[in-house]
Symmetry: C2
Amino acid sequence: MELIKIYACLCDLTRLRLLNVLAQGPVCVCHFQEILQEPQVKISKHLAYLRQRGLVRAERQGNWVIYALAPKPSRELKANLACLQDCARENPVFKRDAARLKKIEPSCAWVRAGELEKAPGQYRCGC
Amino acid sequence: MELIKIYACLCDLTRLRLLNVLAQGPVCVCHFQEILQEPQVKISKHLAYLRQRGLVRAERQGNWVIYALAPKPSRELKANLACLQDCARENPVFKRDAARLKKIEPSCAWVRAGELEKAPGQYRCGC
DNA sequence: GATTCGTATGCTTATTAAGGCATACGAATT
DNA sequence: AATTCGTATGCCTTAATAAGCATACGAATC
């Protein structure tokens, strides 16, 4: 069932952080490393987990891979992501991630990738 | 983290069904068996899971044990339970459970138990 | 006090998942 | 074509979980 799949994706802190960052727009893996301060394997595996379950899309851009939220989220997914955003607002962990994202943003060229253009938000990567 | 715990509770169909029924008010285990059409062990174990994590409270009433939603839910829990209710509205599984609950309701004496009185809704048990 | 009823728990098995290390991959660079 | 860079994956270990069977428990009844 769609709902179970969604909740399974949400019941890990790393994935929660990834999704919460992605809510601001597409991000590449290298930036996730900086923002979450977690090893590359860990991030890559959790992104794969989310990708395999359709919550997230990936697109290669040269050497980098840019991740974005799924373009056509189900009603359930949309509702739960909104709920997560709401709950994350006051949480120190998510707030810290958001701060690091803001810090990285200016030092990073904006990238426009064909496929991902349909996704919400702006492109933050270019490394 | 509170959020992770909540999502871990929500990522199982049986628990989702239990919580969705409990949103209508306290219910005893025997009625859960009728409503979910699942074996007693399964229901009892998932209720224990929810109880150990504080989403749910239990109170003995003679031979029966009546379960209810936690009396003082956190902001996160409240938000997610509301989201679940919203998502469950259109789902055939949850709708079927709700129908079975309605069917049982009239044939069942209303019980007032001391502790649980603080919980939302009405008591459905008495078997 | 023995039995019955409703519920909970211990045990076992199978599945899933998380984390880390090493390594493989594709694209760009040299 | 060899190397480098960013990312993904295979393998391993460990831990958590689900499900079912058998059994234990507490309260009521006989």
